[in-house]
């Protein structure tokens, strides 16, 4: 098990009994030390990590069985499992936002209080999410074609990539 605050293995397992329900924390030695020595009256409290937040959110929402099922979900484009994301707090590819959307959206609301972008948009290469997913797939296909020394297929794929990049798909 990894530490909820960083990437190191969790060697300290703390159960907090101060709230209404017991609250479990899994930390490495260093994070445990700073957690245990933090000033209870304030100071700089540890921000809950992404993995910690997800852990909490899923525990509330799902039974162990459902969670295990969810963990097995794998993105067809980059191959990351939901379990890996849950543990590392980092996604594998842009398509994960669609693939794990139903679990990610509540987390995103939790972090940002919103799920609608209100900032700038790219001016030039604005492709649909589907096109972007297709691009990653085509790049994978091209790598495979080059490895197989199938250069004709590789050049066909390159043309397809160019079309999408130039917005002609």
């Amino acid at each position: 098990m990894k530490c909820q605050q960083c990437e190191k293995p969790a060697t300290f397992h703390i159960t907090e009994l101060t709230g209404e329900k017991p609250h479990e924390l899994h930390l490495c030695e260093q994070c445990a030390q700073s957690y245990l020595t933090q000033n209870p009256s304030g100071g700089m409290p540890i921000q809950p990590s992404l993995a910690g937040m997800l852990h909490h959110q899923l525990k509330v929402a799902d039974t162990a069985k459902e969670l295990a099922k969810l963990d097995e979900q794998v993105c067809p484009i980059c191959g990351i499992s939901f379990y890996e994301f849950r543990n590392q707090g980092r996604l594998g590819c842009p398509h994960d936002y669609t693939c794990f959307g139903s679990e990610l959206d509540p987390l995103i609301v939790n972090i940002h209080g919103d799920t609608q972008h209100a900032g700038k948009h790219p001016k030039h290469h604005q492709q649909s999410s589907q096109d972007q997913t297709r691009l990653i797939q085509l790049h994978n296909d091209m790598k495979a074609a080059v490895e197989k020394e199938d250069y004709e297929r590789a050049s066909q794929i390159r043309d397809e990539i160019r079309k999408i990049e130039e917005g002609q798909s």
């Binding site: 960083c6 000033n39 009256s41 304030g42 100071g43 700089m44 921000q47 992404l50 484009i77 980059c78 191959g79 990351i80 590392q88 707090g89 980092r90 996604l91 594998g92 590819c93 842009p94 936002y97 990610l104 987390l107 995103i108 972090i111 940002h112 209080g113 919103d114 799920t115 609608q116 972008h117 209100a118 900032g119 700038k120 948009h121 790219p122 001016k123 030039h124 290469h125 604005q126 492709q127 649909s128 999410s129 096109d131 972007q132 691009l135 990653i136 085509l138 790049h139 790598k143 990539i161 990049e165």
Partner: protein
């Protein structure tokens, strides 16, 4: 850290960074070594064809010696993570070290603009322009509803982190700093120590930044940070006034002792140096020390760091050696500057 720009007595620097990813590759965690090389090469090649970008220094971080990577980190041109990561990665830096573009950090691109003093609006104008130019040659991963897609959902949307580095010694001395933290957290702003996430506040420097990146425009996020900073500045100035009117002798003594140690120490750690320079910096601002300018202190903060000292000396030094070199550098610098100021006055 030039000690210039608006409110530079208290605001060290203003920084904006944008996280961007290329549409055609997986995020860094799932990239193969070959993918990382392809991204690195693609970004490098495209940078060469953008007017004005071909003059950037382009450094392959993975090919640099440890001390050089540390040097770039100390100058805040790359992150600690970027310095310590593995695989093909690089950084493009402009001439005056205000702009840096990290390639293959946590996201494919991390664009950063830094300004001296409180100057977020001009930092935004510059980074927005750079982002537009890069985007004309690269296709970014962008979602109609979620905005710019990032490896970590905490950055999704604008991908923007706006931060301001503040020097708040009087709020620390008067034990009011925690009150400031608590009120900032209530309005979704994060407070961190000198080197960002997870680091301790050293030398009373605190970085304030936006926590949310989605649901607000870039201008709104900048407005939120730049709106709150003047209040903290005001709060720090009031605390300084209080200290100087209520306790002038004690404050003057603390600052003079700090200056004295820096001028005479034979061996000194990085941590002690930061701590003492922080007092001296406040002393210069309050007119209690007139031999030095704020730009001198800011320069010393940067140049007494481990990699800077080793570059200056021209060879590797262990901790004990660095402590001696640091003390020597401080003594020489402060004696020379003090003499120049005295000569100017006479």
């Amino acid at each position: 850290m030039r000690g210039s720009g608006p409110e530079s007595d208290i605001v060290i620097s203003s920084r904006i960074r944008l996280a961007r990813n290329l549409a055609e590759f997986p995020f860094i965690r799932r990239c193969t070594p070959q993918d990382r090389k392809s991204i690195e090469k693609m970004v490098h090649d495209r940078l060469q064809v953008i007017p004005g970008f071909n003059t950037l220094y382009y450094l392959r971080v993975d090919e640099l010696a440890h001390v050089d990577r540390q040097f770039l980190t100390e100058r805040q041109l790359i992150s600690r993570e970027h310095a310590e990561a593995e695989g093909a990665r690089s950084v493009a830096i402009d001439n005056d070290e205000r702009l840096s573009v990290m390639i293959n950090e946590e996201d494919h691109l991390r664009i950063q603009v830094m300004k001296s003093g409180l100057d977020l609006h001009s930092a935004w104008d510059q980074i927005n322009e750079v982002d537009d130019q890069l985007e004309s040659k690269l296709s970014y991963a962008f979602h109609e509803r979620l905005g710019y897609l990032t490896a970590c959902p905490t950055n999704v949307g604008t991908g923007m982190r706006v931060s301001v580095m503040l020097h708040l010694p009087a709020l620390v001395i008067t034990n009011q700093i925690e009150k400031v933290f608590r009120s900032l957290q209530k309005i979704n702003l994060a407070v961190r120590g000198l080197y960002g996430e997870g680091s301790q506040a050293m030398g009373d420097f605190y970085q304030i930044s936006n926590q949310i990146t989605l649901g607000k425009s870039e201008e709104e996020l900048i407005g939120q940070v730049s709106g709150v900073v003047p209040m903290i500045i005001e709060y720090e100035r009031k605390a300084r006034d209080f200290l100087i009117t209520q306790n002038r002798e004690d404050l003057h003594d603390k600052i003079s002792r700090a200056y004295g140690i820096l001028c005479t120490a034979q061996t000194i750690s990085s941590e002690e140096t930061m701590h003492l320079l922080s007092s001296v910096r406040m002393g210069v601002n309050l007119g209690l020390i007139d031999d030095l300018a704020i730009s001198d202190i800011n320069k010393l903060f940067v140049e007494t760091q481990p990699a800077h000292l080793q570059k200056l000396r021209g060879n590797e030094l262990d901790t004990a050696g660095r402590n001696i070199e640091r003390a020597l550098y401080l003594r020489r610098y402060l004696q020379d500057r003090g003499k120049e100021h005295r000569d100017e006055r006479n």
